[in-house]
């Protein structure tokens, strides 16, 4: 069973005061996310990522199209008990403490009364806030609020977790903790759908990614496949400065650190470069094919034509 399915999901607004004109925040989006995968939803600011999440959470109503989560309509209340959501830069009730807030959300989500205290404590430890005490949330730092945001998203042990920019506002340790948490959720069999700007996080975590730009889906791919693509270029590293002028004559852009040089050349030039290094008595350190990164894919897809994903 698919965890998330959207069928030509679309959202348009009317903008302007006197003369209303339509603005399309999300063009018909058809997408499937399988159960148990970590799915990255990538795109620049204003691409439509948050709009998609709001539509899936029932915070907005689609102009047309539909969506299902765990094979249930997005308006189905039974489904909402099975999902967790962390909005971008979450805000909470200032005058509550973290345990009070989590207890409140647990009650709304239908967590049994006898299980709540244990669940609250466990989830606070899990997000790295084991002893928040009686400090009210208005005194929490941005990073701590982000951790509370994650805690509330998983307090009721959901099957599908939606995270909107979960690394935003976190320091490097916090980012690592959140990455570990997302990986743990996957290990428990949960589906994680998260939007992010930070491509290194998506590359490290995601099974698949989708790229969105200007409200349009520009591509969907398996991260492992995307990052093992060979780009037809090679990175050459050598020792010894004497080869630099000859390599420059070949059109190579060389970078030296101490007496170690590095250049990236097309495969067609590789033999000539190696011959030059041998002729100049430089010591060859390594030759590696250049593989594509998620960033390469992201940049490539931003300018690509919209795609229709086969279902």
């Amino acid at each position: 069973m698919a965890a998330i399915q959207t069928f030509a999901l679309e959202k348009a607004y009317s903008v302007g005061f006197w003369r209303k004109r339509p603005k399309c925040a999300l063009r018909p989006l058809t997408l499937t996310v399988e159960e148990g995968e970590i799915f990255g939803y990538l795109g620049p600011n204003g691409a439509g990522k948050t709009t998609t999440l709001k539509l899936l959470m029932g915070l907005m109503f689609p102009t047309s199209g539909s969506a299902k989560i765990l094979d249930m309509d997005i308006g189905d209340r039974r489904m909402k008990a099975l999902i967790g959501f962390q909005p971008e830069q979450p805000y909470f009730y200032d005058y509550l403490t973290a345990p009070e807030l989590l207890n409140y959300y647990a009650q709304i989500s239908g967590v049994p009364a006898g299980d709540r205290s244990r669940r609250v404590q466990a989830v606070l430890e899990r997000v790295g806030l084991p002893d928040p005490g009686k400090v009210q949330l208005r005194k929490f730092s941005k990073g701590m609020l982000q951790r509370v945001g994650l805690a509330q998203a998983i307090i009721h042990d959901p099957k599908v977790v939606f995270l909107d920019e979960p690394m935003s506002g976190l320091d490097p340790i916090g980012r690592r903790d959140v990455r570990d948490l997302i990986q743990n959720l996957k290990d428990e069999g949960k589906t994680v759908f998260f939007s992010t700007h930070i491509l290194s996080d998506a590359e490290a975590l995601c099974d698949r990614v989708a790229v969105l730009n200007k409200g349009e889906l520009r591509g969907v791919g398996v991260v492992a496949d995307l990052t093992t693509r060979i780009q037809g270029r090679a990175e050459v590293i050598w020792q010894g400065p004497s080869a630099i002028p000859s390599l420059a004559n070949l059109g190579c852009e060389c970078h030296m650190i101490g007496d170690v040089g590095r250049t990236v050349v097309p495969d067609s030039l590789l033999d000539a470069v190696l011959e030059t290094l041998r002729f100049k008595s430089a010591t060859l350190v390594s030759v590696n094919p250049v593989r594509a990164t998620l960033e390469d894919y992201f940049v490539e897809r931003l300018s690509a034509e919209p795609v229709e994903v086969p279902q």
């Binding site: 709001k54 959470m57 029932g58 915070l59 907005m60 109503f61 209340r77 039974r78 909402k80 008990a81 999902i83 959501f85 962390q86 909005p87 979450p90 805000y91 909470f92 009730y93 005058y95 509550l96 409140y104 959300y105 009650q107 709304i108 989500s109 239908g110 009210q136 945001g149 509330q152 998203a153 009721h156 939606f162």
Partner: protein
């Protein structure tokens, strides 16, 4: 269902209390005690009349201020601060959220009025030394004040579902002022003809008639309140509140949270 409304209501009450709303009671209690001393010095024979008028009016005004300024932010503030996102993505109906918010603030106001009434009766006892049978009607006046506050809370909540706190406060205060003079508006409508009469009469019928809920002057003079007035005022407040809440739910059910 009921439990989820109760959870939202309790949280609304808890936040209002921690937002120091109830601290106005201290101000009120001090005002009451100070006034009882003051007016016992400068009034001869009408100490009770002045104290009842002053006390009940103060309870009513304090209550209106709390109902309006918390009520207008009940939904719009949650939208602005985006606290709604993590609530409405859970198994909770939007209508349950609205009702929870309403009952939470109504509960806050009832507790406020109760505590202010304690201060009022303490000051009255200090002033007149003993209670008389007709002082029981003061409780009915307090009950009517609670009904007024419940109605204005529902109206503030209705505006809060579709406009900013600033505009909601303007609308709510306008309704409050027109409603307070609803009887005068009806009398004015009876004196004029044509389209203006229709407009004036429609406005007088549409806004809540707070004038009929205000019996402060009567009870201050020791007059009794007819049981039929208690019944009709209760029915009126329930129906008006129900209509305002239904409107709030209808709007909020279709609102996109941007």
């Amino acid at each position: 269902m009921t439990s989820r409304i109760g959870v939202i209501a309790y949280n609304t009450f808890r936040e209002a209390v921690r937002d120091r709303v109830l601290y106005n009671l201290i101000v009120f209690a001090l005002l009451m005690v100070a006034s009882s001393f003051l007016f016992s010095q400068i009034s001869i024979g009408i100490e009770r009349l002045i104290l009842v008028n002053l006390g009940l009016t103060a309870i009513s005004v304090f209550g209106f201020v709390i109902a309006t300024f918390i009520g207008i932010g009940l939904v719009s503030k949650e939208m602005e601060k985006r606290t709604l996102y993590t609530i409405l993505s859970r198994p909770l109906g939007r209508w349950e959220f609205i009702l929870g918010k309403f009952f939470g603030l109504a509960g806050t106001l009832v507790v406020n009025v109760f505590l202010m009434a304690l201060g009022f009766f303490a000051a009255l006892l200090f002033q007149v030394r003993h209670f008389e049978a007709h002082d029981g009607w003061l409780l009915i006046a307090l009950y009517f004040i609670v009904l007024e506050l419940v109605v204005i809370t529902a109206i503030a909540l209705l505006f809060s579902t579709y406009s900013s706190p600033l505009m909601s406060s303007v609308f709510t205060l306008a309704i409050l002022i027109i409603g307070t003079f609803a009887e005068d508006l009806r009398a004015f409508a009876a004196m004029i003809d044509g389209f203006p009469r229709f407009i004036a009469m429609a406005a007088a019928r549409l806004v809540p008639n707070f004038a009929s809920l205000n019996v402060i002057s009567s009870v201050a003079h020791g007059q009794s309140i007819a049981p039929s007035l208690i019944f009709y005022n209760t029915l009126y407040a329930v129906l008006y509140t129900g209509a305002a809440l239904a409107g709030a739910i209808l709007i909020f059910e279709h609102r996109n949270l941007k």
